[in-house]
Symmetry: C2
Subunit: 370 residues, 2 copies
Amino acid sequence: MKCGEMPEPLQLLKGQFMYQTKAFSAATATSPLTSVAIPRRDPKDRDVQIEILFCGICNSDLHAARNEWKDIMPTTYPIVPGHEIVGRVTEVGSAVTKFKPGDLAAVGCMVDSDQSCPNCKAGLENFCPNATFTFNSPDKHGTAPMTYGGYSDSIVVDEHFVLSVPDNLDLAGTAPLLCAGITTYSPMRHHGVTKGNKVGVIGLGGLGHMGVKFAHAFGAHTVVFTTSPKKKEDALRLGADEVVVSTNANEMKSHASTFDFILDTVAVDHDINQYLNLLRLDGNLTIVGVPSKPLALSSFALIIGRRSVSGSNIGGIAETQEMLGFCGQHNITSDVEVIPIQKVNEAYERLAKSDVKYRFSIDMASLKSE
Amino acid sequence: MKCGEMPEPLQLLKGQFMYQTKAFSAATATSPLTSVAIPRRDPKDRDVQIEILFCGICNSDLHAARNEWKDIMPTTYPIVPGHEIVGRVTEVGSAVTKFKPGDLAAVGCMVDSDQSCPNCKAGLENFCPNATFTFNSPDKHGTAPMTYGGYSDSIVVDEHFVLSVPDNLDLAGTAPLLCAGITTYSPMRHHGVTKGNKVGVIGLGGLGHMGVKFAHAFGAHTVVFTTSPKKKEDALRLGADEVVVSTNANEMKSHASTFDFILDTVAVDHDINQYLNLLRLDGNLTIVGVPSKPLALSSFALIIGRRSVSGSNIGGIAETQEMLGFCGQHNITSDVEVIPIQKVNEAYERLAKSDVKYRFSIDMASLKSE
C-alpha cells in the first residue's frame, strides 16, 4: 500500500460512515487475543486516519485484557488493547491543519477529552475528568460501544490527540515513547530535573529504562536502583552513572540525603522508605508504577527533610509532543523486541514475568496476513 | 523578682561559669517528673539568659520522657522536657544586640545549630544535621551531658535562637506557638496557602487547633476533618468554615478533588488515602503528626491528580519569628489550660488521652515554691 491510498478492506463501508479494519482482541479476561474485524468511523472534519505501523505492548494492556484493575477501571469485552501507536497518515478531515497523508504520526493513551475543563485548558488533558482513553473507554462517536486500541491496522483520531513523529527515529522504538516515554519524562520535567541534579530510578524495566535515558539526557547524575546485580552492565549502557543494589544496606546508606529526585517505576510491593531516606531537603520521589496494594509510608522519613512523595500519570498532549521533539533531538527511543502480532499472547506471558528488554513492539505489518 | 534582677539561687555559682536553677525532671522512662536542681552556663558573649514564665507541654515532651521514640531519638536520663518557652530576659552577653534585660523572649525546639551548613544558610536551622535541640541533645557547652528544656526557672540560649514576642499576646497562650504554632504555620506557608484556597485540617488537637487558626487567618476556606461530631461547635469557634465527620463516606465524597492543601495532624494510624482523594490536581497533604507505624499509601490516589504527600518539621528561626509577628498582628495564641508545674504528671496522663483543649501551658511561677 502506498501512502495516501486506502487499503481495500477500509473502503467497504465508506459512505456508511464507518469501515472495518483488522485487529487483535480478547473476548474475556481469560481468552487469548485473536484476530477480529472491528469498525472504525470514517474520518470526520477534525479527524486523522492512521495506518498503524508499530504498537508497543504496555503493562496496562495486560492488566486491562485480564481485567486486573477491575476495582478501578473494569474492562468491557471485547477489548482491543494498545496505546503506544506509531503509523503513517492515510487520510485527513477537511478541518485538519497539522497533518497530511504520508506524514508520520503517533497516538498515545488518550484519543479525546472535553477540551473545555481547566485541566484541558492548561494542557493537562491527561487529568481531564472526561478523557477518552485509547481503549476500553466509552466511544462517544458510537462507532463501537468502547474505544478500540492500537493492535489494529488502522485508527481514526481527533487531530488534537495525534502527535508528530521526528523523521530520524526508529519507529519500532518510538511506539513505547507514547506511554513509557511520556510517563517517565513528564514527572522529571514537572520536578525540574536538570544538569547537576542527582536522580535515582528504581527498577529497570519498560518504564525504568526510559527514566534512565531521560535523566541522563537532562544532564543529571543518574543512579539506578535494582535488586538484580546482573542488570548493572545494561544500566550503565543505557546512561546510568551508578548502579546501586538496593538490598545492600551499606551501599544504600552511603547515598543518604543526597538525591534531588527519585523516579519509582516498581509495580509490586516494595519499601519506599529506604528510598525516601536518600532524598535531600525538599527532595521528591514520584511513583509511576502502580502496585496493587498500598505501600507502607513512614511519616518520619517524610518529616526529616521536608520530603515528598508524588504520583504522575502520563502527560498532556503538548508535553507529549515536546517529549517526542526531545527524543528526536537526543535520538532517544525505547529498547524494543519487535514481534509479529501472532506472538502477542506469548509476549503477554513473558511480560508478566518481566522477561523483555525492555518493551515489546508489535510490527503491525504482520496483521495483514490474518 | 524584678526585671533585670537575678534570682538568688542563680548567683551561687557565678564566676564558676555556671549556676544552678530549679527544674522538673524524669529520672527514667517510668518515673514521674520531680523537682531537681540543674546547672545552666553563665551567659557567654552571644547568650541571652531568660527567666521562664510559661512553658507549653508538647506531645514530644511526653514521648521523650517515656522514651517512646527510642528507635529514632533515644532518651538520655535525667531529662528536663519543654520546648515551648516564653519568658523575660534577665541578662545578656556583651555581643548580644537584639535583646536587653526586661524584654519578652521565647525559645522553641532548637537552641543551636552549626550555622554554617547550606540549610542553616538558607534559614532552615530546623534541617541542620548538627542542630542542638532544646532538650535531650548533647550539650556542646558541657554544662551538662544533655540539654535541659523549659520545665525550669531559667535558660541560657544563643541569641540567634531566641525569638522576640509581640507585646499584645497572652503569654500562657504564646508558649505553644513555639512548637505547635510553627509546626502548622510553616507547611501552610511553604505550600502557599492563601486567600481563596480550600484547606483541610485533619484532627482537632494541639496542632490541629493551631492549623485551623492559621488557615482561617490566611483567608482560606477552612475545613476541619474529625471523627468526633461533638467537636463541630468548637471547630467553628476556632475559625473553621465547615466541619466534616470523616466517617461519613457521602460527606467525604462530596468534597472529592476540591482541596488545595490538607494538613494532617493525626499521630495515630489512620487512612490518608481517603483524604488524598479530596485533593485537586497538584494538591498536597502534609503530615505533621507522627504515627509510630507506617501509614498505608495508595499509589492510585497519588497518580490520579499528580497529588503529593509531604512531611514538615517545625520551622527555621526566621520563619518562627515571622510566625510570632503574624500572631501578634492577628492576635493568635493557642487555647491553653494553665497548670502549675506540680500538676505536670497528671497533665501527661490527660495528654496521652487527648484530654485537653488544646494545649497545657505551665505557669512557671509555680516552680518557685519547690
